[in-house]
Amino acid sequence: MLALQILIDGFAVSALYGLGAIGFTLMFGVSGVLNLAHGGIMLIAALFGWYVAAEYGAGPYGGAVVGIVAGLLASYITYFVVVRPIQRSRAIPKVEEEIFILTGTLLWGIMIQVGMDYLFSNNPVSMQPLIPGVVNILGVRTPWNEVMIAAISWAAIGLLWLMVNHTRIGKQLLAASINPRGLTLLGFELSRIYLIVWTIYGLLAGLAGVLLASFFGVSSDNAGNLTASAFTIVILGGLGSVQGSLIAAYIVGYAETITAYLIAPTLRPIPALLILIVVLYIRPQGLLGRR
């Protein structure tokens, strides 16, 4: 019974982690940016979504839509105010660009965290479940909400996969992640490609934030941990590999769930970090990493 519960909970948790990590990995694969404000963007989506749902009475669905839009806007601000100026700056030497982007997004992430704390305080909030009630899966009482979240996560992941592999824009994104120069030679403006990536990223991070609020609840204190777990998963899976991120999300998700159930809930974040250290020592490019 416990095993089944772990199986089900772990599945949902991993699905959500996967959704959060995919955006992060797509961002790195296509534009080479490691966005350390990732958790902050998810947080904005979660908190604004909750606020509109609870205080304005828009209900969980209205809140979700607002939350996703908020995530998208936060993503655009991150690109236009923080990342793009650094990329275009002539004062910063090319080799240090990555470091400056890491530092800049880290600072921006902290600003978001403090800002959200100021606006909403750091009390944890959670959104009402999208569908109330419980369902009996093989004898385990599981909230409908949890099932919905897993389903939505996988639907979003599936949509992304469809888009990347079967639409023209998707192929362009894929090509950009393999060889940006090749794309330029074929007449595609990279600036347009980057804009598309940040848009998709914002939508994914926004959705992940909103679902997180519904599943676990969030508080402004979580921003750092959210970023940390996303990049742990992405490094484990291999920077730039979407399949890798999904597999890693499940490894981490299950490792955490098992730890929480069988050892102690407070030790939840530990296994991911240990796995990460082992991976970085043995196989730094991650499970399916290319670069």
């Binding site: 192929k171 074929l186 007449g187």
Partner: protein, 499 residues
């Protein structure tokens, strides 16, 4: 008598002895069973075109790469597999092709660095270090600029700094990569002196370069490489005359096929390049280069590696900044993004091909056709290309990465053609390809020429490939256009002296 014999044996005993050297990168064999010796006071030239493996050999000797097999002996001691710093300390020095100074330090500090021991505990350099650094600076001609930082120095001075560092290390064997690239005649003479100085001091020198001409004056012996293997060895003259070497560089006898309907085409210039200069950092990559290509023409720009062909094409494609004027169909290209220039009809198929390795052949081609108006256009274009390059039709679903070199080149050209370019620029399409593939490529280009009004600008080192198809030929040498004319005259005037 015995003493004399023994001493001369010591003098002529190889300082550096390499045998059976092999290096693989994944499936590609970059260096196959290479062996040579360099004795004290001897200069060996290692030559080969891009992709021949000569730079890899140099890196293997220096320990920057580890060989898969083979032995490298320095005065009898096996050093293959040693870390670079240990090899350096045991007496091998290297002058890289691209200068690598410390940008935040002065010239003097850069030279002093080369004189320092590998120690954590010496906080203050011994007093003789500065004095010696100054002496070395004087010897190479940097005496006036000791307090300056590399960013403010001209190109030749940066190369002098690299030589100074090598001198400071006082190595028994010096490896020099492309010693004269980017230098003027006068500077070449000075540098030759410095290299000769190494020889006079009793050291051994390995010069690595693209072509024999550059190193002929200095090298005692030359070893020619192609596709990782040794193809000739001997004195400079012997190597230059060697059949295999000539075939690799020139492709063989030059044949020309005057194009039947040349007079029917031509007219106003489609591409007009006027007095273009390009600087790469400090090196002058193009000097007052002017060429033009009329609509419907096939123009070849021939020149050895490093002459400036790629730079010229990159300037046209908007990938590097330039001074001067470049116009297509009368309007200037300045200010347009590279993607825009490509969409406007100037499509480049670069030396590096830039394929999307993890995508299939079909997906690569589809991306090329994205800007075409309709699906019908794309379909018909694809059909035509599959006729031109049947092998691509067969391998449609394969990932580009898994294709052979020749197939990848065809894919790159086909992909560029998908864009229905007004001007197709081809940069060194024959690089690293086997002769039988060159045949196929040549046939495809002929068909292209004869059945379409396409305008082509081809840059090639392989003259046998480049000249027959061309309506006109330019020769680019050391950043300048040195000859222009039709293929017939080229065969007469340039044929023998080219190498």
């Amino acid at each position: 008598m015995d003493d004399l014999a023994r001493t001369s044996a010591q003098i002529t005993a190889p300082l550096l002895e390499v045998s059976g050297l092999t290096k693989r990168f994944g499936g590609l064999v970059a260096v196959r069973d290479i062996g040579f010796r360099v004795a004290r006071g001897e200069i060996l030239g290692l030559i080969g075109p891009n992709g021949s493996g000569k730079s890899t050999v140099m890196r293997l000797v220096m320990g920057i790469e580890r060989p898969n097999a083979g032995s490298i002996r320095l005065q009898g001691t096996e050093i293959a597999g040693w870390p670079t710093h240990r090899i350096a300390r045991s007496g091998i020095g290297i002058v890289f092709q691209h200068s690598r100074p410390l940008h935040r330090q002065t010239v003097l500090e850069n030279i002093q660095l080369a004189l320092l021991p590998d120690s954590l505990w010496r906080l203050f350099a011994e007093p003789h270090v500065e004095r010696r650094a100054r002496e070395i600076a004087e010897r190479v001609g940097l005496g006036e600029v000791l307090g300056r930082r590399p960013a403010t120095l001209p190109f030749a001075d940066l190369r002098r700094l690299e030589m100074a560092k090598a001198l400071a290390r006082d190595p028994r064997v010096v490896l020099i990569d492309e010693p004269f690239a980017g230098l003027t005649q006068g500077e070449v003479a000075t540098f030759s002196e410095l290299i000769d100085g190494f020889r006079r001091d009793g050291h051994a020198v390995l010069l690595v370069d693209h072509n024999v001409k550059s190193v002929a004056a200095l090298a005692d012996r030359v070893l020619a490489m192609y596709l990782g293997e040794r193809i000739a060895e001997g004195t400079a003259e012997e190597v230059m005359r060697d059949e295999t070497v000539r075939r690799v560089y020139l492709g063989g006898k030059i044949e020309t096929h005057p194009r039947q309907y040349l007079d029917a085409r031509g007219g106003e210039a489609l591409l007009d390049v006027r007095e273009v200069d390009v600087l790469y950092g400090k090196a002058q990559a193009l000097r007052q280069v002017s060429i033009h290509v009329n609509a419907g023409e096939f123009v070849s720009v021939v020149g050895l590696n490093g002459a400036g062909k790629t730079t010229l094409f990159n300037a046209i494609s908007g990938l590097v900044p330039f001074a001067g004027d470049i116009r297509v169909a009368g309007s200037s290209l300045r200010g347009r993004t590279p993607a825009r220039i490509a969409r406007d009809g100037v499509v480049q198929c670069p030396e590096t091909r830039e394929l999307f390795g993890d995508l299939s052949v079909r997906e690569n081609l589809d991306l090329g056709g994205q800007h075409l108006a309709s699906d019908a256009d794309r379909e018909s274009q694809l059909t035509w290309l599959f006729e031109l390059f049947p092998i691509l039709n067969e391998r449609q679903r394969q990932n580009a990465r898994t294709l052979s070199g020749g197939e990848q080149q065809m894919l790159a050209i086909a992909r560029a053609l998908m864009m229905q370019p007004k001007l197709l620029i081809l940069d060194e399409p024959t690089l690293g390809l086997a002769p039988v593939i060159l045949e196929q490529l040549s046939k495809a280009l002929s068909r292209l020429r004869e059945t379409t009004p396409i305008t082509v600008l081809l840059g090639e080192q392989n003259v046998t490939f480049a000249v027959p198809h061309a309506d006109r030929v330019y020769v680019l040498e050391h950043a300048r256009i040195v000859w222009e004319g039709d293929p017939g005259r080229f065969a007469e005037e340039m044929g023998t002296g080219y190498l």
